[in-house]
């Protein structure tokens, strides 16, 4: 082997590597660096003995400390469940009104409800619960089956047109066109009348004819003035909210074929505490109705406690 080359300026030995005339000097490493390096080696050795490290054919060495990230996770989950168990037990046993009356419990229930909603409900009702065509907006104050805590709870537990549940919410609007109950022209006249109920553009003459048909066919469920009936799940036709759409063509389609939206019964899928949390959360979205009638309007209102 040739004699190592020495740099002229510094007298330091070179590594023999050269890039365009620039040669790398073989200077010693700083002591702090070399010691840090040794320490990391020692650390690594100790670590591989204490913690799971070396891969084997059917797994890895377990390590002397018996550490396992899976066990850690299980422990964390158990701790979280334990920490929540007190509140969950309260929610399971207390009436809904009392949950809503307790700010701390309400905050807990709302948070739990929000996450349960994100898992189970957003597929139809949307992330912001704003709904879509055929899927009700839960933020507004229009409720097919009632907006008090108990009403919402019942709907959640038993679902809508959930055949396996005998207490399910069920309304049976006839398919007036498809089943031949009304003629095409009669349906058109009825649609004009329905449009007139909420003050939309309509043909007054057709609406006049439609009024008679409405009184005969529709008022049983939707009420004589079209105000709807929550006991039967018949929506109000007088307000600004349309579940499927308020234009003439959609109304004609609705009368012709009827609408039969469904929602699963959650009573057998979710535990009672989760359903109660969902109830409180949906109720808090802005359209929740009081169990008792609302107090008279005032100019100044006290602000409620807010989670």
């Amino acid at each position: 082997m040739a004699q190592p080359e020495h740099d002229e300026m510094s007298g330091v030995e070179t590594t023999g590597h050269e890039w365009d005339g620039i040669k790398e000097l073989n200077n010693p490493l700083p002591r702090w660096w070399i010691w840090t390096f040794y320490i990391t080696i020692a650390w690594a050795l100790v670590y591989t003995i204490l913690f799971p490290a070396w891969p084997l054919i059917d797994g890895a060495t377990q390590g002397l400390l018996g550490y396992s990230s899976r066990a850690n996770l299980a422990q964390s989950v158990q701790q979280a469940q334990q920490a929540q168990s007190g509140n969950l037990e309260k929610i399971r046993t207390l009436p809904l009104d009392e949950i809503r009356g307790d700010p701390a419990l309400l905050e807990f229930a709302n948070a739990g409800g929000r996450s349960a909603f994100a898992v189970n409900c957003v597929q139809c009702h949307g992330a912001g619960a704003a709904g879509a065509k055929g899927y009700p907006n839960l933020n507004d104050d229009e409720w097919l089956w009632g907006g008090t805590l108990d009403d919402i709870h019942h709907t959640l537990v038993h679902g809508v047109r959930h055949e396996a549940d005998e207490n399910t919410r069920n309304s049976q609007m006839p398919a007036f066109g498809r089943d031949g109950l009304l003629e095409r022209a009669q349906i058109a006249d009825t649609a004009d009348y329905v449009l007139s109920l909420s003050g939309e553009d309509h043909d007054a003459a057709a609406a006049g004819r439609g009024a008679t048909i409405f009184a005969e066919q529709c008022s049983v469920c939707h009420g004589a003035n079209g105000g709807g009936d929550r006991a039967q799940g018949a929506p109000s036709l007088r307000d600004a909210i349309w579940l499927f759409g308020g234009d003439r063509a959609t109304i004609v389609e609705t009368i012709t074929n009827a609408r039969r939206g469904v929602m699963p019964a959650w009573g057998d899928k979710l535990d009672e505490a989760t359903i109660k949390q969902l109830t409180v959360y949906v109720h808090s979205l802005g359209g929740g109705e009081a169990s008792k009638p609302a107090p008279a309007a005032s100019v100044e209102a006290p602000a409620a406690a807010m989670p």
Partner: protein, 498 residues
């Protein structure tokens, strides 16, 4: 100039040392282990000044958390407190919320400009007198000197074989150093919690883990920086010396060896005098070298390591007194005066050098920032409102045709008394509000009670008739007013329609 007294041989007058400075450019290597420095004890004006500054700074550090300040019931009564869990900073009569952090930023800017000012006038005075590193190294040196003796004794002990006596001295020195570190870290944590309570909990070994961890970390760093690393912290770790080099100019006071007076240096002045040789005032006793905590020879000129602690001035003045020569062979001088002295007649540096355009600009800037902050502090509002518009859904149509928007409103009552506020809106006629969780009917005003020094969060639903709205978005202003007059705050938001 006084002549030296010929009746006493210079060798008996002045203690001489034969040393090589530790930090000399020629002897410095990137890979060399640290050469120990054994600074010798020194007496003199600057040493006394440093003792005094050390006493004051240490007293401030240790005593500040124990000062009490009454803020009323329920509020902490500690004058200076950084309350992390509650996110509050208390400084005597001032209480700062996290969103007012710009006051801290302003203080830091003032500290920065202050350092510029200090450096451009009196050089690295911060480093030499007030920097915690300097103060704590001084403290550690006091301990070292108390146990192991002065420089000569320490050098001897260092090179001596390991005997019981050496072991005893070393062990007690390091034990005392670590105790000093514990006291340092122990005092630090009192700034972050109620000091008497925390002290009691520490005494009962009942303090939270973070307190112990902080004490441990600060003990370790204090022991490491003050005891073991010392001048290396300043030379290798601290960025400030490098910045300061750029802040110095020819009018800055720096510790200067006046070689125009000292050279040629000579140990045998008497001989020189008798033989008619030209001799400078420097007797080459190396006292300036042995007292230097940074291990440099100031006679080599300005150096990065010099923290201008001025101990070499004290040492040299002592020697000059002994040999009967005027003081000031090493002195605080500006580069300008040094150059003038070298070229022509000696110039005495006066405090006049402190006043010049650069320093005036620094003082002006510093005062402007300070006055601005003071003004902002004295006129600041103790009420604030933040509004977050719901994003999903942006707007909701209600059964009666009105449009509803949701807002999360935060009302901050930064006063130490509970207050009642009225929340109302402006910009949309007939806009009415309800709050989530309340069964109250829609109202044009809401009453909001906010506890002392707290934030109230409300989910507010505002509804308005479509004919009162613009096409897509309508400006909506939220106004919070203190009941019975007082502060008010506004927030400009938007109201959307579906």
């Amino acid at each position: 100039m006084m002549l030296h007294r010929p009746d006493i041989p210079p060798s008996l007058e002045v203690e001489r040392a034969s040393v090589t400075p530790v930090n000399k450019r020629e002897t410095r290597s990137l890979y060399k282990a640290r050469v120990k420095i054994f600074p010798k004890r020194v007496h003199g004006f600057f040493r006394s000044l440093k003792w005094q500054i050390m006493a004051v700074t240490l007293a401030i550090y240790y005593l500040t958390p124990w000062i009490r300040w009454d803020r009323g019931a329920g509020a902490p009564d500690q004058a200076v407190l950084i309350d992390m869990p509650a996110r509050r900073f208390y400084f005597f009569f001032i209480e700062i919320w996290p969103q007012e952090f710009y006051y801290i930023a302003g203080l830091l800017i003032m500290a920065g400009i202050g350092l510029f000012l200090l450096t451009s006038t009196v050089g690295r005075a911060w480093c030499g007198y007030a920097c915690p590193q300097t103060v704590w190294v001084d403290l550690f040196l006091v301990i070292e000197r108390w146990i192991e003796g002065d420089r000569a004794a320490r050098i001897k002990l260092d090179s001596a074989p390991w005997t019981f006596d050496k072991l005893r001295k070393r062990a007690s020195k390091h034990a005392l150093w670590i105790l000093t570190g514990v006291a340092t870290g122990g005092a630090w944590i009192f700034y972050f919690a109620d000091a008497p309570t925390l002290a009691a909990r520490l005494a009962h070994f009942d303090a939270p883990p973070i307190a112990w961890i902080t004490i441990a970390v600060l003990t370790a760093t204090t022991y490491l920086f003050g005891g073991l690393m010392r001048e290396q912290v300043c030379t290798y770790m601290c960025p400030w010396p490098r910045i300061q080099a750029a802040m110095l100019d020819e009018d800055s006071l720096v510790v200067t060896y006046n070689d125009w007076r000292g050279e040629p240096r000579g140990r045998h002045q008497k001989v020189q005098q008798e033989t008619g040789q030209a001799g400078g005032d420097c007797v080459d006793c190396n006292q300036c070298v042995v007292v230097c905590p940074m291990g440099i020879d100031i006679r080599d000129g300005q150096q990065l390591e010099c923290i201008t602690c001025a101990l070499c001035i004290d040492a040299c003045n002592g020697v000059m007194d002994k040999v009967g020569k005027p003081r000031g062979l090493i002195s605080y001088a500006t580069l300008k005066d040094y150059n003038a002295s070298t070229r022509e007649a000696p110039v005495h540096t006066s405090l006049r050098s402190l006043i010049r355009p650069r320093t005036i600009i620094y003082v002006t800037l510093w005062s402007l920032v300070g006055l601005g902050m003071l003004f902002a502090l004295l006129t600041r509002e103790r009420l604030d409102v933040n509004v977050l518009h719901d994003r999903n859904p942006l707007a909701v149509r209600l059964a009666d045709g009105t449009i509803r928007n949701g807002y999360t409103i935060k009302i901050l009552n930064m006063k130490t008394i509970p207050r009642d506020f009225t929340l109302r809106t402006e910009g949309i006629d007939g806009a009415l509000m309800t709050t989530a969780g309340s069964d109250a009917a829609r109202a044009s005003r809401l009453l909001v009670a906010v506890p002392r020094d707290d934030v109230r969060v409300l989910k507010v639903y505002v509804s308005a008739s479509p004919q009162d709205l613009d096409a897509a978005e309508t400006p909506l202003r939220f106004i919070v007013e203190e009941r019975g007059g007082g502060e008010s705050a506004i927030y400009d938001a938007m109201f959307a329609r579906p």
